[in-house]
């Protein structure tokens, strides 16, 4: 085990060295950072957004993508809204050197509770996308999605446990599509997916909404089983491919993609946006990123550059605003 780890480590390090030789100066021209870059992260050190940011920061250095010194600052006040507002209002002189980790789970509370909008930022990239599934526990009352549907039709109450943000939005779309009320198919919000999984394992709820990565080991241990893919198509992983999509039951598919991205302030120049977008593209194509982040977290690597990301995030916001009735 130790030897294997040592060999893996040496390989990773040497890969980084090679990469250093070949990729130097590969980024788009027109802007080169000359000052320290301040990267705002709105989660605490060790949180999901922090791990994402740290991985990119490491890849930027080890892959020789840019020499710029990146400093991560954690602004967690106001549930992250303070940090987002600070970045949005960053003035011209610092705008090219300010980055913010921005996920769909950040956009939703921001749009819901504040007047801050995606238009106040310069989207730079979407790095990864994740999708949801519904799982049942070992001793579940309903063994398949069809049984769940039948139970709801028979007037029984079914409870889903899930996390915040994206999960709630997915649930709302699901009940809208099924045409059932919140009382028939109820949802309880947990602080994290692990809380939802706890409720499912304890048999306190019927279903649990989770992304593949968070549920992986429970599925492997036979404690959880996927019964519905909340996606346009079935998942391809062997343990998840048996979960049908909603269209197989005569409904429209429900898919709320959970994305992780990076944005800058609105005042960021076009050249800088192109530069950072290109840097992030190189990160996203690097083997370190694919192995240590994407594969490890069971994500779908889906890179969108600054133009595509702007369109994507703006559309996402518009959809969400519409579902809020704003």
């Amino acid at each position: 085990m130790k030897k294997f780890l040592a060999v893996a480590l040496v390989m990773m390090l040497s890969l980084a060295l090679f990469a250093n030789g070949t990729q130097e100066g590969g980024a788009a021209s027109g802007f080169t950072p000359t000052k320290d870059v301040e990267w705002t992260c709105t989660s605490k050190p060790g949180g999901g957004s922090d791990i994402f940011t740290q991985q990119i920061k490491d890849a930027l250095k080890t892959q020789g993508i840019t020499d710029a010194n990146v400093v991560i600052s954690y602004v967690t006040d106001g549930g992250g809204e303070v940090g987002r507002l600070q970045v949005a209002m960053t003035g011209k002189n610092k705008a090219d050197y300010t980055l913010l980790t921005f996920n769909s789970g950040d956009l939703m509370p921001m749009v819901k509770n504040t007047d801050n909008r995606i238009e106040n930022f310069t989207p730079l990239a979407v790095m990864a996308v994740d999708k949801q599934l519904l799982f049942i526990g070992e001793n579940a009352k309903y063994k398949t999605w069809q049984e769940v549907l039948d139970a709801i039709k028979a007037g029984k109450k079914v409870v889903i446990a899930g996390s915040k943000g994206d999960d709630i939005e997915t649930y709302n779309k699901l009940i809208a599509e099924l045409g059932v009320s919140e009382a028939q198919l109820s949802y309880i919000t947990n602080d994290s997916t692990s809380g939802a999984i706890t409720s499912l394992l304890g048999g306190h709820v019927d279903l649990c909404m989770s992304k593949p990565a968070a549920a992986a080991q429970y599925v492997e241990a036979g404690k959880m089983k996927a019964v519905l893919a909340l996606s346009e198509s079935r998942f391809t992983a062997p343990s998840l491919k048996d979960a049908p999509t909603l269209s197989e039951f005569g409904y429209n598919n429900v898919e709320v993609p959970v994305w992780r991205g990076v944005v800058g302030p609105k005042a960021m120049s076009e050249e800088a946006a192109a530069f950072w977008s290109e840097c992030l593209r190189q990160v996203s194509e690097s083997q370190v990123w694919q192995e240590n982040y994407i594969a490890k977290n069971g994500l779908v690597s889906e890179f969108k550059d600054y133009k595509a990301a702007k369109e994507y995030m703006t559309q996402y916001q518009a959809d969400y605003l519409k579902s809020l009735g704003k």
Binding site: D77, G78, V82, G202, V205
Partner: protein, 507 residues
């Protein structure tokens, strides 16, 4: 016995010179960081996590375990010596610890009591963890939102009469605590509450600046106000090492509560999201029912022992769901989980079958860390108690700086400092008017847990009251306890009025 063999195997892994060294380093650092008010165990583990990057996986995990564990010890130091709880369970320790250190002039014994009780509680927790392991985690799973809600209700009801001399004041301040805790984002729907359009209040009031202000900063003001002669220290007698050792009689006093709390604390630690604070609180509440040589709250050895033992046992107990299910019981647990996963350890249902040497190595390292931390703590107590012989005019600015830094370091912004100052002034006014602030702090910690579980329970039961309170055997037992606690004073009052019970003579 198989578990015992595995543990033994774990010890053979842990007991190499390098690993003992890492464990020792982790214990010292954890103790120091844990003792700093405002940093506490969560930030402590997060701060020290990168240190482990330099080691091989086994050593790193051992060091992490030691770090996590010794952090729990550290929290009581500032609570006892300065009346500033380093983390939320230490609020309970301060109740008896600070009076014992100052009023009874036995600071050394107070610290020794805390550490011995922590050791006893922690050891009990680990032994239960060793023998029951994954089965223990399954016990925790039986506590769903409904059961947790009723359990927390029991805890919340006892706050008022448990802490301080005046139950009415206690209840009033519990309610204030609940009100303050409800500022910020609503837990179930994510809508803002009581934020008055302020973006900072959207994230709610944070515990660390709140507690440092209410207790620590208020303390500074009290010292300035009360001391006419600020050149003297609170304790004028010479403090010697010999004078701070526990007497055999003290040992006899601390052992029974420590053992009781140790067993109870372990099971509370296993419950999802209950954490060490609930453990410490229930340990103290339980002690109320037993004989105490001094009244609780006036510096009783039993009081310190009951909550410290429960606190550390809960920390050990929380390893059961962490390892066997991959579910962290607290924020600190979550950081630790992140650290473990970074090292390729995959806590979860497959851990004990796939990677037994890792899992048992970690548990063995907890035993070692527990022992090492005790030895280190005993070694530094004689130095620590010197803090109390520092003149008040010197200690005031020092505590003030500690408060400001603690308030700032929670979110690294002035928001924390402002919260700290405001709650400091309020805390001072309340104390001055004869209100004990501890119920407010405890209600502040427990209320969000109660609200969250209660609302989840009602969603699950479809709004049916009996579905929450009479949902399972566990719920029914807890509901009966709850009703008993709530009804006792009323029944007693009625019986007294009818002349069945004799009226207690006023003291």
């Amino acid at each position: 016995m198989e578990n015992f063999q595995m543990l033994f195997h774990g010890f053979t892994v842990v007991l190499s010179l390098q690993n003992i060294g890492a464990c020792l380093l982790g214990a010292v650092l954890g103790l120091v960081v844990g003792a700093m008010p405002g940093i506490g165990s969560l930030a402590g583990v997060a701060l020290l996590l990168p240190l482990t990057y330099k080691f091989n996986p086994t050593t790193a995990i051992i060091m992490l375990g030691a770090l996590y564990y010794s952090n729990m010890y550290g929290g009581s130091f500032s609570a006892i010596l300065l009346n500033i709880p380093g983390d939320s369970p230490a609020v309970m320790t301060a109740l008896d610890g600070y009076p014992m250190a100052t009023k009874r002039k036995r600071p050394g014994q107070a610290l020794f009591t805390a550490n011995m009780a922590s050791f006893v509680g922690g050891t009990i927790g680990m032994i239960i963890l060793t023998f029951m392991g994954p089965a223990l985690a399954d016990v925790g799973l039986h506590f769903g939102p409904a059961e947790m809600a009723v359990l927390l209700l029991v805890a919340m009801t006892s706050i008022g009469w448990l802490v301080g001399s005046n139950p009415t004041n206690g209840v009033v301040l519990s309610l204030v605590g609940i009100l303050i805790a409800s500022i910020g984002m609503d837990l179930q729907t994510g809508s803002p509450r009581f934020n008055f359009g302020n973006i900072y209040l959207l994230g709610g009031v944070k515990f660390i600046p709140f507690v440092i202000g209410t207790v620590g900063f208020a303390q500074v003001m009290r010292l300035m106000d009360e001391k006419e002669d600020t050149t003297k220290s609170e304790i004028t007698e010479k403090l010697t090492i010999r004078g701070s050792l526990l007497t055999p009689h003290d040992f006899k006093r601390l052992l029974p509560p420590a053992i009781r709390s140790g067993i109870m604390g372990t099971f509370v630690g296993v419950l999802p999201g209950a954490g060490a604070t609930t453990g410490a609180f229930l340990g103290y509440a339980m002690q109320r029912a037993f004989k105490n040589e001094d009244p609780l709250g006036s510096g009783a050895v039993e009081g310190i022992a009951a909550c410290e033992a429960a606190n550390n046992a809960a920390a050990a107990g929380s390893f059961a769901p962490l390892l066997a299910l991959g579910i962290p019981g607290s924020g600190t647990g979550a950081v630790l989980l992140g650290g473990l996963m970074m090292w390729g350890l995959n806590p979860g249902p497959l851990l004990f079958t796939n990677e037994p040497e890792f899992a048992w190595g970690l548990i063995a390292s907890l035993f070692l860390a527990n022992l090492l931390t005790l030895i280190i703590a005993l070694g530094i107590i004689p130095v620590l108690i010197k803090i109390l012989s520092v003149p008040v005019k010197v200690i005031i600015p020092i505590i003030m700086v500690v408060c400001l830094v603690g308030g700032y370091s929670d979110t690294y912004s002035m928001y924390g400092v402002i919260i700290m100052l405001i709650s400091g002034i309020c805390g001072y006014v309340l104390e001055k008017s004869g209100f004990s602030t501890a119920p407010m702090l405890l209600a502040f910690v427990l209320a969000p847990l109660l609200e969250d579980n209660m609302r989840k329970a009602f969603v699950i039961s479809g709004g049916s009251v009996s579905g929450v309170f009479f949902n399972s055997a566990i719920s029914i037992v807890l509901t009966v306890v709850f009703i008993a606690i709530a009804a006792t004073p009323i029944v007693r009052a009625i019986l007294t009025k009818c002349g069945v019970l004799k009226v207690k003579k006023a003291k």
